[in-house]
Amino acid sequence: MTTASTRLEARDVTLGYEQRVVAEGLTLAVPDGRVTVIVGPNACGKSTLLRALARLLAPSAGTVVLDGGDVRGYRTKEVARRLALLPQAVEVPDGISVLDLVARGRFAHQRMLRQWSRDDATAVRAAMAATGVDELADRGVGELSGGQRQRVLLAMVLAQQSGLLLLDEPTTFLDLAHQYEVLELCRRLNRERGDTIVAVLHDLNQAARYADHLVVMSAGRIVAEGPPAELLDAELVERVFGLPVQVIADPVTGSPLVIPLPGLDAGAGPGAGAAAHAGGAP
């Protein structure tokens, strides 16, 4: 591992719900000021890891360290001032306006009595400008397109001013153009504001393209991490996802491009022989 500084890390954590262990012995240091993307098959523990990093789930063993202290030692508000999480499915209250929703990102900065300060107004305005939703301020969130809605939600967690954003599958439920709109936005927030971003993504090619640091999980373990170009090869993808693939350099961006080869598997005959054949194709 590099010597890059980190504000947030998981140290040998075991995670689960009640009796069921979802992930064991996870150790991950989130590099500051970079885009980290977590990928892996369904139910491999990606979202669970994200929830643990955000202190929404207490590890049954190990610790999550945030800014040098055990995350469980902080008060809820303190955690919220240091990191923000956008869950996968957000239930937006009926009839709420864009401005009101973004303003709810300021909860952790407000006090019982002095409820709305100039800092709050500045932060909300900056967050809306950064995500390009300032012109939507008075619109109802319910009437927005999927991409606009996701940008508004990003503005809300940006208004938290934590500098550390955890995003759980921010592109699900979006059509293709809006997926890239959101991913570009995340990269811009990282490049221009220096925000640290950790995102769980489903699409390997999007992950390879937007991640500085890629984390590959499988069955509750981190099986590989590092820069996507060094990490992603056909062997790894097949091992983790159980799908024969070919990996080439994206002709446009140069990042690894994963090309699934399921048809060859089925067409070339039974089982392992076909997979080996596909793996050796290049």
Partner: protein, 320 residues
């Protein structure tokens, strides 16, 4: 607020005997015990109107908070059986002979409200991951029926309790003691303050439990404090006026229509709105079937039931 003030005046002036404003003013500023009309104002109308406002505000706030907590547009102290619980416990108290003034009622009503709240939450799966509005409402209805039957059985078997209890259980502001007002105020007003302090956390909670906590809200604390507030408000209101249904449903829904989904507005508006509505219902109750009086709760049901049906039919029971 102006509407509430106006209704307050109406509450003092209108009744089976209409009193002119000058007399009422005299009764408040220069009381003359010999004057019948002034006596009515001082001893009956003023406490009754104040009580209507207190009870209304309590039920309105409790309804708004319950809707926020359960994310259920049908959550309401009446529908969820909390008022029935307070009623059954108070009846038990009276039956057992513990009628130590206004506070005795209140204590039993608190206990009943708390037990009913826990029961209905457990039955309705509110402690589980995703609470279902329909299941919660059905549990409340079922619990109300059971507790209602228990209360009835108690009344039939202990006729002595019956007289004491008869007016109270239907929900009426008629014939309540003056001494109830300061007692109810002492409990309800501070609790309403706490309710107002909760509103920002309720806003965060409305975004779902993960996001709410990620935004910095201590949702466990919010839940506990909110539940206590609801139990105290419902217990106090029910002890003071008997079970009054639908008010906690109608007022928050109207407030939400008016102010949008922001609980910093919904909760105070529900308080004021419900106080106004109950005061108005109480005035109407006095004049609709002269010279007798209709029970306030019956009027509330007349107003509230259509709203309830409209919500069920129109909103597909969206979660809040």
């Amino acid at each position: 607020m102006p509407v509430l003030a106006l209704l307050g005046c109406a509450g003092i002036l209108i009744g089976s005997r209409v009193i002119d404003p000058a007399t009422a003013w005299q009764a408040l500023t220069a009381f003359d015990r010999a004057d019948d009309a002034q006596l009515i104002v001082r001893e009956l109308r003023v406490p009754r109107t104040l009580l209507a406002m207190l009870v209304g505000a309590a039920l309105g706030a409790a309804g708004a908070i319950m809707q926020a907590l359960t994310r259920n547009p049908l959550a309401e102290p009446g529908l969820l059986g909390i008022n029935a619980g307070a009623g059954a416990a108070a009846a038990t108290g009276i039956g057992l002979g513990f009628t130590v003034g206004a506070f005795g009622h209140v204590l039993f009503a608190f206990a009943g409200a708390a037990i009913a709240a826990v029961l209905v939450a457990a039955l309705g799966g509110a402690f589980g991951a995703g609470s279902d509005p329909v299941r919660l409402t059905l549990s409340g209805a079922a619990l109300s029926v059971v507790l209602g039957a228990y209360t009835q059985a108690l009344l039939i078997n202990y006729p002595s309790v019956f007289e004491d209890f008869r007016f109270w259980v239907v929900g009426s502001l008629q014939g309540r003691d003056w001494e109830l007002v300061p007692a109810a105020a002492a409990v309800i007003i501070p609790t309403l303050m706490v309710a107002l302090l909760l509103t920002r956390s309720l806003n965060a909670a409305a975004l779902g439990s993960d996001l709410g906590r990620a935004l910095g809200a201590d949702l466990r604390r919010t839940w506990i404090v909110s539940a206590l507030v609801v139990i105290v408000l419902c217990g106090a209101a029910t002890a003071a006026a008997g079970p009054i249904g639908f008010l906690g449903l109608v007022a928050p829904l109207a407030a939400r229509q008016l102010a949008g989904p922001d609980y910093r507005w919904i909760v105070p508006l529900s308080m004021v709105g419900a106080a106004a509505l109950l005061t108005a219902a109480d005035v109407v109750a006095r004049v609709v079937t002269p010279p007798a009086e209709t029970r306030t709760a019956i009027l509330m049901a007349l107003i509230g039931a259509p709203v309830f049906i409209a919500v069920v039919r129109r909103r597909r029971l969206v979660r809040l």
